[in-house]
């Protein structure tokens, strides 16, 4: 097998070299790809965790701290309503964070892998 490859290399180097190069980059690709995949997973899990903490923090306050949420900040605005609006704004902020990371870091890295 090895000799045959060497033979063909001598006979027709342009044919085997691209094949050999494809092979090695394929291996490097897989390691890089897995690294990028686990990087995306880490970012996704961190942001998911942040969303869980914010939302279930809010739910736990509703369940256990009703009096705190009923406090008036100013006329017409309670802590509960203010925090409710904040949860919605946080949802947007986390979404924006992920999309920005994906566009600035993830997509360029993917583009390098694709090449």
């Amino acid at each position: 097998m090895a000799t045959r490859v060497r033979d063909s290399e001598q006979v027709a180097p342009p044919q085997t070299r691209p094949a050999a190069r494809l092979d090695t980059t394929g291996v490097a690709d897989d390691a890089e790809l897995e690294a990028l995949a686990s990087r995306r997973l880490r970012v996704a899990l961190a942001l998911t965790g942040a969303m869980l903490v914010v939302y279930f923090g809010f739910i736990l306050l509703i369940a256990f701290a009703k009096d705190f949420l009923a406090k008036e900040i100013t006329d017409g605005l309670t802590v509960g309503i203010a925090l409710g609006v904040l949860v919605i704004l946080t949802t947007w902020a986390l979404t924006w964070t992920y999309v920005r990371w994906a566009n600035r870091v993830y997509e360029p890295a993917l583009a390098r892998l694709r090449r």
């Binding site: 995949a37 942001l47 017409g76 409710g84």
Partner: protein, 529 residues
């Protein structure tokens, strides 16, 4: 006011004109889309040609049901802060869809979420189990929408309940059979624009009465109805109930088959990402508006008149529209509510039909090897069956509690569909037996726990007590589905599934061209592209 006032149960000419205009638009879209629906690729996935922004609007149109528009506005009008808990809960699932589900799903599958779960597992058992998960979620959600449609159209247009359900069903079936996903997408886009536009105008008009200051609005509502409306009250009583409902709302979104199916309409994972971020923006904005609309109805219309028409408060948004801008605006909002129902039932019916035709018929019965023309024919037959089923259920189950049906659909989605999908995407050691047991245990435990919960035992059957204390089962059924899936996978490893994980990961990141097609490729190559 020059035009006839809104009288519930009596035909209102303005509302009927707007309604007919919208039906005309929907039929026009169907006719236009029918000329572009020649392959299964187009029927199920709009030819993967929808842009990220368009799909963001369509997702919003698919998701914001009449329950969330009329229901939440009514809930806020009657309970204040407690209603907002739903507004927020229906939004927070979207980032989870974005971070964990949308991109992998887009690249692993073709038409249904079962494509992604079954990617490196054994096709037949996984697809059958996933069809059970999809059909149970779609059925309960459809019941809620059809019952809501019948009640609403009866209220607005004065048609008998059954006739209302049949009309919604007939328009939906025309739309789906002619134009499939392309027509559904555009009806959802039109509906989202009308709904968000209409709600924005209404919110401005409401705020106009309070010097554009929302705090004045909240303050007035509290002066009239007591400070309690600005604070958590009795709607969510138990601590564990609050947690369980929160879990179902958050993770249910990521397991709704009609929402997951929309990600196949875009060309690639990047567009899937873009579409969720637009959807999150639109849906979040809409739910912020429900703060204004709900308290606006409370302050301007008053709780008495709202309850006078419908105990559940479903008429709040309609009465508010008439209050702030007269009968023409009321007619417009009524037609928007109809558009809302139509867009959601179309998406749901299509997802149920895809489970029957693509998962069960093509991939299980025909082992993934059916000619294109047969696939398209079976898809249309399944759509017809699913639509007919929805109409029958809507008529038979008149008077069912809508909120309960929606809660149940979310609980099953969070327990049956979401855990299996998540583990299939991210866990190397996940197996066929793990997926099947997780889906079935999730679906069955959610159903059984709902049956023994106070929602059925006390509220529906009128018993004193219930075996299971929680109103929503997700707190138990979702961890159970995860636990069973993990345990079964660990006890009986599946080397072939493990071996294909890297390939699946490659495909998740690089898309369809990256690796060899799945063992039993879902679909024959489409002809016209």
């Amino acid at each position: 006011m020059l035009l006839a006032k809104f009288v519930p149960g009596e035909a209102n000419s303005v509302a009927i004109v707007f309604f007919l205009v919208f039906v005309g638009i929907a039929l026009g879209i169907s006719w236009w889309a029918s000329r572009r629906t020649r392959t299964t690729e187009q029927f199920y996935a709009a030819g993967h040609s929808v842009t990220g922004f368009q799909n963001g609007l369509a997702l919003a149109g698919d998701y914001m049901s009449a329950a969330s528009f009329l229901g939440i506005a009514g809930l806020v009008a009657l309970t204040g802060f407690d209603g907002l808990i739903y507004s927020i809960g229906f939004l927070v699932g979207w980032p989870i869809v974005l971070f964990l589900i949308a991109e992998p799903l887009r690249n692993l599958g073709r038409y249904t979420f079962a494509d992604a779960v079954a990617y490196r597992l054994k096709q037949t058992p996984v697809r059958l189990a996933a069809a059970v998960g999809t059909l149970s979620v779609a059925t309960f959600y459809l019941i809620a929408q059809m019952v809501g449609a019948g009640t609403l159209i009866n209220l607005i247009f004065g048609l008998p309940y059954s006739a209302s359900v049949v009309i919604v069903g007939a328009v939906m079936l025309t739309l789906l059979l002619l134009g499939g996903m392309i027509a559904t997408t555009w009806v959802q886009i039109v509906k989202a624009v009308l709904l968000i536009g209409g709600a924005t105008v209404m919110a401005f008009l409401v705020l106009g009465e309070f010097g554009m200051n929302p705090l004045d609005l909240f303050g007035t509502a509290a002066d009239e109805n007591g400070d309690k409306v600005l604070a958590p009250g009795s709607l969510i009583s138990g601590h564990w109930d609050a947690l369980s409902l929160g879990l179902a709302l958050m993770f249910g979104t990521a397991g709704l088959p009609h929402i997951l199916m929309r990600f196949y309409t875009v060309p690639d994972a990047k567009a899937a990402r873009t579409s969720v971020s637009w959807a999150t923006l639109f849906i979040g904005f809409f739910y912020l508006l429900t703060f204004i609309l709900g308290f606006g109805a409370m302050a301007l219309v008053g709780q008495g008149p709202i309850k006078g028409i419908d105990e559940g408060g479903n008429a709040a948004a309609l009465l508010l529209a008439e209050n702030v801008a007269g009968t023409p605006f009321f007619g417009f909002i009524a037609a928007v509510a109809f558009a809302t129902i139509l867009a959601v039932v179309a998406g749901l019916t299509l997802s149920g039909a895809a489970a029957l035709s693509h998962d069960v018929w093509v991939n299980v019965v025909r082992h993934g090897d059916a000619p294109e023309q047969e696939q398209l024919r079976v898809a249309r037959i399944a759509t017809f069956l699913m639509g007919g089923f929805a109409i029958v259920l809507g008529i038979v189950l008149q008077g069912q509690n809508i909120a309960f049906m929606v809660g149940l659909a979310f609980a099953i989605a969070a327990s049956a569909n979401f855990p299996a999908l998540l583990m299939a995407i991210f866990w190397r050691g996940f197996t066929t037996a793990g997926a099947v047991s997780s889906i079935l245990v999730g679906a069955i435990s959610a159903l059984v726990l709902i049956y023994v919960s106070p929602t059925i035992q006390v509220d529906v059957l009128g018993h004193e007590d219930a075996l299971f204390p929680l109103k929503n089962p997700a707190l138990i059924s979702m961890p159970l589905a995860f636990g069973v899936g993990i345990l079964v996978s660990l006890l009986r490893p599946e080397p072939s599934a493990r071996a294909r994980f890297v390939e699946a990961e490659r495909r998740i990141m690089l898309g369809e061209t990256a690796g060899p097609a799945p063992a039993r490729s879902a679909v024959a190559p489409s002809r016209a592209r």
